[in-house]
């Protein structure tokens, strides 16, 4: 019972932390307040409005100067389906983009779409291309946790959170790239740098909370020998 309660708490905290990667606009303070209440000293510092604005526009947006979206498909091989599989091999064989990354709607997104279908959940239009956005992944984990389905929580953590380390690396790469080209056409580059630093702090927090949740799930039933998810 204690382990189950612990799992539910950790899943809720993960969801709240992940929600900070959503586009809040001018209402972002309320999201950070909720995080502060739920996470205590682990909560991220409240950014200035300017930094939060740059985070949402130039980091957490596709096609942006420091674009680093927390969307699983972008950090995984796009498709794993083997060549010619699936009844009537198409001309040309396997998906052309099998190994490519940085593409939306890869296998992880398709899998999440199937899960949402089974759970009768709909992805809101702004996330249509990103059903595997960390906001939605964490929310799904939380739904399973609150329903007491530790197996499903473990499966989700194992399948859909292992990329957070790569995401953290991507943020670091963007930060280095910004430093290298700060003189090339980016208004208030220092502000963008702070936005990237803040994103990194959010990502670090998320990684820690995901690890925490994975450990708590392991404690419920030793059948699942899950490794820490962020490695």
């Amino acid at each position: 019972m204690e382990a189950m309660r612990s799992m539910r708490e950790r899943a809720s905290r993960l969801r709240i932390a992940a929600a900070l990667f959503a586009p809040w606009g001018d209402d972002y303070r309320a999201a950070y307040e909720e995080a502060r209440e739920a996470l205590g000293p682990q909560a991220p510092a409240l950014p200035t409005a300017a930094v939060r604005r740059r985070l949402e526009r130039d980091v957490l947006a596709a096609g942006a100067p420091a674009s680093a979206l927390p969307v699983e498909s972008l950090y995984r091989p796009w498709a794993a389906a083997p060549e010619g599989a699936g009844g009537g091999a198409p001309r040309g064989g396997a998906a052309d983009f099998g190994a490519a990354r940085h593409l939306f709607l890869g296998d992880s997104a398709q899998h999440m779409r199937e899960l949402y279908r089974r759970l009768q959940l709909e992805v809101p239009p702004p996330f249509a291309a990103m059903p595997d956005h960390v906001v939605l992944l964490a929310e799904t984990v939380d739904l399973f946790a609150q329903a007491g389905n530790a197996e499903a929580v473990a499966a989700m953590m194992d399948d859909h959170f292992g990329w957070l380390g790569d995401y953290r690396t991507e943020l670091a790469v963007r930060r280095e790239a910004l430093d290298a080209r700060a003189d090339v056409g980016i208004p208030q580059a220092d502000e963008l740098a702070r936005a990237l630093d803040h994103a990194a702090a959010l990502a670090d927090g998320l990684v820690a909370l995901a690890d925490d949740l994975a450990l708590s799930v392991r404690a419920i039933d030793g059948r699942w020998d899950r490794e820490q998810t962020h490695r």
């Binding site: 796009w78 599989a85 198409p90 398709q110 702004p126 499966a155």
Partner: protein, 727 residues
Amino acid sequence: MRCNPTRRTFLKGTAATAVLAAGGACSLGAWQREQAEAAGALTSGPSLCNGCSSKCGLVATTRDGRLWTVEGMEEHPYSKGTLCGRGHGTAQWAYSDGRLTQPMKRVEDGSFAPISWDDAFAEIGAKVQEIVAEAGPEALAIIQDPRPSGKYYSKRFMNALGSANVYTHAAACNLSKESGIEQATGAQNFSVDFANTKMVVFIGRSYGDAIRPSSVKSLAGAAAKGARVVIVDPRLNNTGVFATDWVPIKPGTDIALLLGIANVLVTRDLYDHEFVEQHAVGFPEFAAQVADYTPEWAEGICDVPAATIEELAESLAAAAPACAIEPSWRAAFGCAYQNSFETARCVCAVNALLGSWGQKGGALLTSSPKAGDLDPAKFPKVPAPASPRLGDEEYPLALSGTGTNLAVLNGCNDGAIQGVFFYNSNAVQGYAQPAKWREALAKAKLVVTIDVQMSETALESDYVLPECTVLERLELPEFIGGKKHYVALRTPVLERIHPETKPCDEIFAGLAEACGVGQYFPFTVEELADAQLASVGTSLDEVREAGIVELTDPEFAYGVPTFKTPTEKFQFTSEKVGTAGLNPVIGYVGRLVEPAEGEFFLVGGKQGIHSHTMTMNLEALNAISREYGLERLWMATSDAESLGIADGDTVEVESSEATGQVTVKVTERLKPGVLFLPTHYGSTSPYLTRAQGLGINMMDFVPLHLEPKVGSVMSQEVAVKVRKVEG
């Protein structure tokens, strides 16, 4: 989207507790195994590639709604079952993280912020109406790189506003070449009958590096049959695998080579008398001029030995009429030099002397289909704008269908143009000196770009409107000419991936409504496409199903064509050229810029996996460039040795306009004194995170100057210095 802070969840619907609590969720691995074993819903749909302007037919197959393969459409005359590297790479755009996914507006601090479509349309509409009220509709302009829907909607939109200022990218592509061909033949282009040719001479053009799998196949077929294939180019380009000869030539002097060949044909009486006497005008004046253009004279200009020029002429004469000088595209005389227009006329003149026009194995003029008249009740006619297009008077030889887009640059500078729209065009980076474009656009009151990514042009805009990618949209029919006529179109193979992107027909209709001319867009693209197709005897359903439909046989036949010139004959002399202030008789014009001692010619060209500045941010294509160092500047081995430069060194390139550093490729495949720079690199948009900073952009180095009377950009009229960067 803004999140509601009182509702901390995003997924909609209420998953039943029982479902959530029931057993294990299907793991990713289990789901992948299920997918592999399941039949999967495979669906195929036709489209036209957007990797370049060829628009080769393709078939895209999806599996359960996700892109599975793209392949060249077998029946399409440009692909013939094959897609080039661009075609495969650009299919990634649909899923790329580098796409724009919502409309953007430049805000006070210079950055871009999201804006809703409704607000974007309203604000743009208000500014357009303000410009029209203050300066008239002629202060508005649009520049577009033609695509099936884009070319229709952009023209209709601008004309509906009352402006004639509709331009294509041609001034930075093939304007000079097509204008020159038009003055000589009445057509804007021609093709070589590769199936039957005995000899073909390429001036700068490289099928192996750019455009159309079918062209490569045709050339391969000709080479396999033993045709002589001559590449005239400072660089041994990748068409060299099919060539029998490489003629290294001084850049911008192809015209001298051609006139030297003409001299031999005329003075040694090797030309086709019947053609010249029955089907041409102006030959006596041309012959009188060409008498001076001896092979020795030509050698002094183009650095090709006189003996080579003589041998080429004699071989062409022997092969005639089953031979031709190939028309090229952009390469050596599309827009490159002060003499590009005249070079194109010379190409046509040599083909005329050879009697190859319309002959088996020669230079063919074919026809193109087009849509018939449509019901004006459903598709209202747009009144013709009152004022002429800006630039037409100063550049009377520019094609009526394209104009010169550099008139917009100049117009922004002098205030004649105050509002500019760009569709599928990265003018700032590719059409002329980028600094000059930026300077000009900064003076405009309104700049709007419609694109899939934040290009350099988008970066200079007030509003950027994201189009959905080709595989997500239906477009108007594309009519395809040649010996046979076809029609094909782009159909949506994928569901819209990003909901806040739109196809250009919806964007232009929305803009028109906001600008007060919505009454000219009372139809959907489906309705218009169906009507256009009905006018040529088919339907939207038929073309969707078949992918491509063959139209009424134009009944092509070999034989001297009807030249649609004012004289109805081939024109060795053109009245219009004379009226424009140039020599009416096809003759010699030199290049403008001559490198001084220690300077180099600089030429550019395409690579087989890229198109101009469009493709460099695509992950797969960018990765290939980086893997193979494709951004490198080519330098001849002897030049490198004399400068102490080794393969892989970093060099600084300097012109009157810019300096830049790039890695060098030292090669024997280049004429000494010449540098070759692939023209896809040097992006400066921080939004194009993969492209930015890789290599250098040729246009940065070229001064802004326009070809007289034509208005092309003279993209290779530049001399540069090079030095090794130490350390």
